[in-house]
């Protein structure tokens, strides 16, 4: 019982972060909660066999991500293409000031127009504070891919927010960045 209790406490700390990532993955609040729940259940099952989890947060993100990917695959096999693009944007629930609330809403709306792979990396790095290597492990991609998605996502979002709309959304990498000083 005590062992279970400590496991529960370890999980509890990360529920809000899992919920944020699930929202980014699913773009749907209801599916997100369901995904978080299943990830937690899988998490406790695996904790039993794997008691040496050091970075609980990124470990749980990995479970959540894999769960999402496998659900998506199943949905596709069944012939129901998961609607990833035209879902409603994440809406801020509460805000201290009108001005902030509006800006955050705009920011999240712009964020939601980014490609999924960029949104995932941007959330994990910028919001959740994961190390690049951890993100690479969660998404099971090379670290170079993490970096390029991060770079593209950041730049695209900046342009969207500054009204500097470039339809191709490609980052504006200046040539001198690549040049030896």
């Amino acid at each position: 019982m005590t062992e279970d209790r400590s496991q529960l406490n370890r999980l509890a700390d990360h529920i809000p972060a899992l919920r944020r990532y699930a929202r980014v993955l699913t773009r749907d609040g209801r599916d997100a909660e369901d995904l978080v729940q299943e990830a937690l259940l899988r998490g406790v099952d695996r904790l039993r066999a794997q008691s040496d989890v050091i970075n609980m947060k990124s470990w749980l993100f990995t479970i959540l991500h894999n769960l999402f990917v496998s659900r998506l695959r199943k949905a596709r096999v069944r012939g129901f293409e998961a609607s990833l693009d035209e879902e409603e944007a994440i809406q801020p629930a509460a805000a201290p000031s009108q001005e902030d609330a509006l800006r955050w809403r705009d920011l999240l709306r712009s964020f939601d127009t980014l490609p999924d792979d960029q949104r995932q990396v941007l959330l994990l790095v910028a919001v959740e504070g994961l190390a690049y290597a951890e993100v690479a492990s969660v998404l099971d991609i090379p670290i170079g891919t993490v970096m390029s998605r991060l770079s593209r996502g950041r730049e695209k979002l900046r342009q969207l927010m500054e009204g500097d709309s470039r339809p191709d959304g490609r980052p504006d990498i200046r040539p001198e960045l690549r040049r030896v000083k």
Partner: protein, 279 residues
């Protein structure tokens, strides 16, 4: 060996934004930014963006303590089920050992984990205690599992106590989309303690808890029935080693479980059933 002349890459700039740049590299990047104010400006925008994304997500996905709590209760119930399954598997293993040792004479133990006899339904299987159960059998299984988890909790068996009965009743009725209320078992010596919402495989359920002067606790689980047993007579059930009774009226299922002794439990269940008929 110092590579002062190394090119500043985009990766360096990202790492600068995320404050995870190699300290050795930091002065070089800073020098680069001084020489290229437009790049510095862009990185500043990224930092601002990171800050605002955090704020925006905090507002869009606010803390949800009640939902957290519900999730953890589900995990808890899941763990309790697992524990039960391991226990049953161990019992079955011992039964196999005894069975082979004695020569088949104890073979009944193997079947004993899932038998039905004399009108009593014993709900428990090896490895999949809740496999495909429907009707009042599923209800009894859920009541037993919930009772194991919550009645054993000395500190916080209920989420809202008897003093908040009105809030509790309103909350549970809303969540079940059906009016539910605790029955009054005081005449039989059981005080109403309070209750909580619990998750079952068949949706949300209300759990009301009672205790007597000896500290014996009873759990009454109530939820809408899904398919089978929309109406079911009072019947004795046993799930997860917990004795009880279950019945259904007008599509609402009830299961009263606990260690009150069979005769007393039957009387209590009959009384609860009589009262709940008016709900």
């Amino acid at each position: 060996m110092k590579e002062i002349e190394r090119a500043i890459s985009d990766d360096d700039l990202q790492a600068y934004v995320d404050d995870c740049l190699d300290p050795v590299r930091l002065p070089e990047v800073e020098a680069h930014l001084t020489a290229h104010p437009e790049v510095a400006q862009r990185l500043e925008a990224y930092r601002r963006q990171r800050h605002e994304l955090r704020q925006a997500f905090a507002a869009a996905v606010p803390p949800q303590p009640a939902a957290d709590h519900a999730l953890l209760r589900q995990v808890e119930a899941h763990l309790a089920r697992r524990r039960q399954q391991r226990l049953l598997a161990a019992v079955a293993m011992i039964a196999v050992i005894i069975g082979t040792g004695v020569g088949g004479g104890s073979g009944w133990l193997l079947r004993g984990v899932a038998l039905t006899s004399g009108g009593m339904t014993t709900v428990a299987g090896i490895g999949d205690a809740d496999k495909d159960l429907t009707g009042v059998a599923a209800l009894a299984e859920e009541a037993g599992a919930a009772h194991l988890v919550f009645a054993a909790d000395r500190k916080r068996p209920v989420e809202l106590d008897a003093a908040h009965e009105a809030d509790l009743t309103k909350w549970l009725s809303n969540r079940l989309a059906h009016p539910v209320a605790p029955v009054d078992l005081a005449a039989a010596g059981f005080r109403f303690m309070g209750g909580r919402l619990v998750a079952t495989d068949h949706g949300p359920a209300a759990l009301f808890m009672y205790d007597d002067d000896k500290g014996t606790r009873l759990s009454l689980l109530i939820r809408p029935m899904t398919k089978a047993d929309m109406e079911a007579p009072l019947s004795a059930v046993k799930a997860h080693g917990v004795d009880g009774y279950a019945w259904a009226q007008h599509g609402i299922g009830f299961s009263l479980v606990g260690a009150a002794g069979d005769d007393r439990l039957q009387q209590l269940a009959s009384e609860a059933r009589r009262q709940s008929g008016g709900i």
